[in-house]
Amino acid sequence: MTDLPEKTERKLGLVIDLDTCVGCHACVIACKGWNTENYGAPLADADAYGTDPVGAFLNRIHTFEVQPDPREDGSLPPAQMFHLPKSCLHCDDAPCVTVCPTGASYKRVEDGIVLVNETDCIGCGLCAWACPYGAREMDPAEKVMKKCTLCVDRIYNDNLPEADRQPACVRTCPAGARHFGDLADPDSAVSRLVEARGGMDLMPEQGTKPVNKYLPPRPRDAEIDVLAPYLAPVDEHPKGFLGWLDRALGKL
């Protein structure tokens, strides 16, 4: 199933708000927990209590520091910090799918979710090489490729209450920085959010056409707000405050 569908009926994906993500790793562990028990082999951890633990995770948080350029007067604005959660972006032009020699990797026609059929995977690792985003990890015990499933076993799961039919990472995110929906539908909440906040792609130059979008951070550390004048003193005289107080109380 190495071909990519020409078009998928829906484009399910995540919209992640870089203005809001506090970098708590909650989504990382919820994902690990859910996917250890569900789709495919459990996510293993090698040398789990040893000197060099390496486990499979489908979602990870990177933290980046940004140093803005000097201002006109030469002073340096304060550096900023952002958390970047990263899982599979379920690309429209997913190179990880086309390189797969076995057809284990495929993109679903109905919703665009990119999956690995673990029973077909030979663990060659090529798909991980083809992914620009580091969204695929080989399971250290099962030796098959692991990746975000967009919780395909939650979102349609009628064993779950309706409200819970969303990815584990979205459900758990305490800050509400993760949103799930159909990005092919311009009226969906996620599409509207992308529209309103200027949602962007990661590494667009790689030509992968990610479905997942990132909402850029709002401006930080706004320079002195000219609209907000400093507070004016009630009275220039040193003893004036009490006089003002008296007058002000009189008016209450």
Binding site: M1, V22, H25, Q80, L231, P233, L242
Partner: protein, 967 residues
């Protein structure tokens, strides 16, 4: 491209999720979120824990869950879990133990403690960590009769709690939170993670969704401060000055809420201004003790709560030759001074004057120009009905960044003063209390310390002193408690001073003890200052070769560093295997709109096949209490009163009708004010014990909530509807309206003593300090360490932060979490990085006046230029936590604690001052000053505290967790 006959593999998109969901409460931190524990039936037919997610109905977390919470399963399955009681066989610290039976363990403990109780109960020091059963453990300690009991608050955040309660009858976190739904401007001071972990994240998320502004005041820009719209990278220890500077700007512009101040605070109350009077600086009262104000209608003095009285904020009075001026006049006089002008404070705070001015203007504009009005009538305690509620949509939150400094108490007070001046406490959009708060300091007990051998203590250990008379001193004026809490050194140490126990016990100062009994605190490691030295004290011997601290009993669930120093280990269960109760008597899970409490229950049985097994500590303590024949635990016929903790939770009564849990008590439901359970013979709030109460909790998802009526949701300290509701639910026995204490009299009483007034007098060497620091109005003074360690030689502030995905020392045994934080570098700001010629991968020696450590460094630009920091408690002792002794935690992780001493460095006055806040005794973790220099990369971090033997078997290589069902 598409093959028309494209076939896709079949995916089961609707697998069965679990066989059963058991709802209980998370324990991975003190936030206490509700969890859904998904259970699957294994091959052996037993239910196993498969997956943990947040409980959507739970008042705390509404379904979300943090990393630690989701990883709780790995905590529950940790290879470091203890399996049986342990008796030490090697020297302390070696980790050599033999497993013993429970009977032997309990009899050993009884044998040690029974003689102490009969002869000298104070020789037992029983201290507990961040457990969630303090109302129970303190009750036990009281029955035993020792004055030496406290929980961990003294080294945690007592400044925050005490300043809040003394000032306004409640503090942040579990006592109060911002009105996330309505606030428009939110300022966060010194918070990395907080106890209220998930609610803060949820709150920030709400603000972000609305585009409300967040200002983060923190030397370090990570986490919450990273998402803040504006970052104020303040110099550590100077928040008080910054806040008072904001107050200066607001006062100067008259941008304060005058009617709020006049009606709800002691700002109009008259202060005695006669320096010779024994009441100098105290508030003027009527003969029956009611505070006096000037009534604007008459210009005459009147009781502040008198019928129709219009308190005059600017009032003054001359009476019997003594002039009295309102608190507000004192406030104006102090803070309008140029000492607090932004241009003056900017040098110390590092915050440019125009930033301070701009933020002050922002606060004023939002509070007053963007005020909100709720159409909700309410009636105040004076009987006055108001048609609306006026909101000041600015809110604040703060935690240890301001409280873990030696000026923290006053800094927290300053912040509360700022909130109150803006009228932003208990008003819509501001900060709101959570039941059982509001509750003024005067409504709390006072500390008790009178010991009678063979008898219980004369009252609860901890409380809120109102003046020197309430201190815990012996006849000769020396401290009555081993931690010296409530002594002249730290008179208002409301939570005790756990961080002083080991060094005081080792020094036999104020007296030697026999048995140190620790529960759930890693005092041989990350919760102690001066770790290596504490380890030495714990294993130090006297001339006769006996341990200086003769006996150590530890209750822990895991193979921690502390366990290695115990003589007797009483192994606890994990949090999924026992009953717990998160009680309104203690630290409940209430929200501003509701009182709430919760339980834990054994969603799995504690099984340790082939070993004596583990028991819930509270049940162990009840058993021990019964063996010691403690009152309340032993019936007249000698049988135990409570069979176990579950039984205690359901049947214990603290006051008539009030027990550990408020939900589903026996009694007829009555009235509108308590949420009713129609026709069931059960009621919420007050009621008789219910033997099936836990079942009701379990059926309800592990918690109970009692909603506050709409009319009572704001202005709680002054709101009649709230006061009546609180009485009905059992929080108060009678209505308790009060006004906020901008002028804090208890502080003034200590100052008066230091000035020579009164019967109880402080030692002379403390007089000046008490006068200077226990000011009844908020002040700022430099962190005490600055007066001891040369700021030129030690130019850098050194801090720690909580990593969101790790809980103190106990997270490292978690196979998932330790991959995120397996080591910790020291983060260094750009200037220092460049000056030292650091490169990626370099190491440095970091020296304080007290010690040195050698650690890896990393660069950070978004950092105060004079600050270095690291993640807290990642470093581990070799051999602990079932980790490989060569694990990165031990070789590339480190504790900053080695650099922090529980005493300040000597400064030539012959005294060793405690490294604590002089008011509350709060450990001043963040006062630390250091210098740093580059060194060649060593093999590992230093100091090396040796290797402990592991009482649990080596951990498995690979973790590949599956429930039986999946395999």
């Amino acid at each position: 491209m598409i093959a028309p006959d494209r076939t896709q593999p079949h995916v089961d998109t609707a697998p069965k999720v679990s066989d059963e969901i058991r709802k209980t409460t998370c324990y991975m931190c003190a936030c206490r979120c509700g969890i859904d524990v998904h259970m699957k039936r294994g091959a052996d037919g037993k239910l196993q824990v498969a997956y943990i997610e947040g409980n959507r109905d739970h008042p705390v977390n509404r379904g979300v869950l943090c990393a630690k919470g989701s990883a709780g399963i790995m905590q529950h399955l940790s290879p470091a879990r203890l399996r049986a009681p342990l008796k030490r066989t090697g020297p302390r610290g070696s980790g050599q133990f033999e497993e013993i039976s429970w009977e032997e363990a309990m009899e050993t403990a009884r044998g040690w403690l029974a003689p102490l109780r009969e002869q000298a109960p104070e020789k037992l020091a029983f201290f507990t960590g961040r457990d969630q059963s303090q109302s129970f453990t303190s009750w036990w300690a009281q029955a035993f009769g020792t004055p030496n009991y406290a929980a961990h608050g003294g080294f945690c955040s007592v400044n925050m709690a005490a300043a809040g309660i003394y000032t306004m009858g409640g503090a942040f976190w579990e006592f109060g939170s911002p009105d996330w739904e309505r606030t428009k401007l939110f300022m966060l001071f010194g918070v990395a993670e907080d106890h209220d972990s998930n609610p803060i994240k949820m709150g920030l998320g709400k603000l972000k969704a609305r585009g409300a502004k967040v200002i983060g005041v923190n030397p370090i820009r990570t986490g919450y401060n990273a998402v803040s719209d504006e970052w104020v990278g303040i110099t550590p220890g100077t928040d008080g000055l910054f806040i008072l500077s904001l107050i200066h700007c607001l006062l100067k512009a008259g941008r304060i809420d005058l009617s709020y101040l006049a009606r709800f605070t002691n700002a109009p109350v008259l202060v005695n201004g006669d320096p010779k009077s024994p009441d100098h600086g105290l508030l003027l009262t009527t003969d029956d003790g009611v505070h006096m104000v000037i009534d604007r209608r008459t210009g005459k003095p009147a009781p502040f709560d008198g019928e129709g009285v219009e308190p005059d904020l600017a009032g003054s009075l001359r009476r019997a030759g003594v002039s009295h001026r309102s608190v507000m006049q004192h406030i104006a006089e102090r803070y309008l001074s140029d000492d607090y002008a932004p241009e003056t404070t900017e040098r110390l705070t590092g915050i440019p004057a125009n930033t301070t001015r701009r933020i002050a203007a922002d606060l004023a504009r939002t509070a007053f120009d963007e005020a909100i009005t709720l159409d909700r009538p309410w009636t105040d305690f004076r009987g006055h009905r108001h048609e609306t509620m006026t909101g000041r949509p600015v809110s604040f939150h703060a935690m240890r960044g301001i409280s873990a400094h030696s000026n923290g108490f006053q800094t927290c007070r300053a912040l509360h003063l700022l909130q109150i001046l803006l009228g932003a406490v208990e008003t819509p959009g501001g900060m709101r209390f959570k039941p059982p708060y509001p509750k003024p300091a005067t409504a709390h007990p006072k500390p008790h310390c009178r010991v009678t051998p063979g008898k219980p203590l004369d009252g609860p250990h901890l409380g809120f002193v109102q003046g020197p008379d309430d201190l815990c001193l012996t006849e000769d004026g020396s401290p009555a408690r081993i931690d010296k809490a409530f002594s002249w050194e730290n008179p208002m140490s409301a939570h005790g001073m756990m961080h002083m126990v080991i060094s005081n016990a080792h020094a036999g100062d104020p007296y030697p003890i026999d048995t140190l009994f620790l529960y759930m605190a890693n005092m041989a490691w990350n919760s102690s200052m001066n770790t290596a030295e504490v380890q030495r004290m714990l294993s130090d011997t006297d001339a006769g070769g006996d341990y200086v601290i003769p006996r150590i009993i530890v209750s822990d669930a895991y193979s921690s560093e502390m366990v290695a120093y115990a003589d007797l280990v009483l192994p606890d269960t994990t949090y999924l295997e026992r009953h717990d109760c998160i009680s309104l008597l203690d630290r409940p899970i209430s929200e501003p709109e509701a009182a709430a409490d919760a339980i834990r229950w054994p969603v799995v049985e504690p099984e340790r096949p082939g070993h004596a097994g583990v028991r819930g500590f509270q049940s162990t303590l009840l058993d021990l209490g019964h063996r010691l024949k403690l009152p309340g635990m032993t019936a007249a016929d000698g049988s135990p009163v409570y069979s176990d903790y579950a039984d205690y939770i359901q049947t214990h009564e603290r006051r008539a009708g009030v027990g550990p849990l408020a939900g589903w008590r026996v009694g007829e439901a009555e009235g509108e004010s308590t949420p009713a359970t129609a026709g069931s013979g059960l009621r919420h709030g007050r009621g008789a014990p219910n033997g099936a109460q836990l079942d009701s909790y379990i059926r309800n998802g592990g918690f109970w909530t009692g909603h506050i009526p709409e009319e009572a949701a704001f202005y709680k300290p002054w709101n009649r509807a709230y006061q009546d509701w609180a009485v009905a639910i059992g929080l108060y026995d009678k209505p308790l309206p009060y006004v906020f204490s901008l002028w804090c009299e208890p502080l003034r009483r200590f100052q008066l003593a230091a000035e020579g007034q009164g019967r109880r007098q402080p030692p002379d060497h403390l007089r000046a300090r008490i006068r200077a620091t226990l000011d009844p109005l908020p002040i700022w003074y430099p962190p005490l360490q600055d007066g001891h360690a040369d700021p030129v030689e030690f130019p850098l502030h050194a801090l720690t932060q909580r990593p969101m995905a790790m809980y103190h020392s106990w997270g490292s045994q978690n196979a998932w979490l330790r991959q995120i934080h397996g080591m910790n570098p020291l983060y260094v700001p750009t200037g220092v990085w460049e000056a030292n010629g650091f490169r990626t991968g370099d190491w440095a020696r970091v020296t304080s006046q007290h010690g040195e450590i050698t650690v890896p460094v990393a660069h950070m630009a978004a950092l105060n230029p004079n600050t270095v920091w690291t993640w807290n408690a990642i470093g581990k002792r070799k051999g602990a936590w079932a980790l490989d002794p060569e694990a990165p935690e031990a070789k590339k992780g480190f504790l900053l604690n080695h650099l922090i001493h529980e005493l300040l460095p000597p400064k030539g006055d012959g005294l060793r001052w405690s490294n604590s806040d002089p008011v509350t005794g709060q450990a001043a973790w963040f006062d630390l000053r250091v210098k740093i220099e580059k060194v060649a990369a060593p093999r590992q971090t230093y100091p090396d505290t040796g290797t402990q033997r592991s009482p649990v078997p080596p951990a498995p290589q690979t973790v590949r967790r599956t429930t039986g069902a999946k395999e």
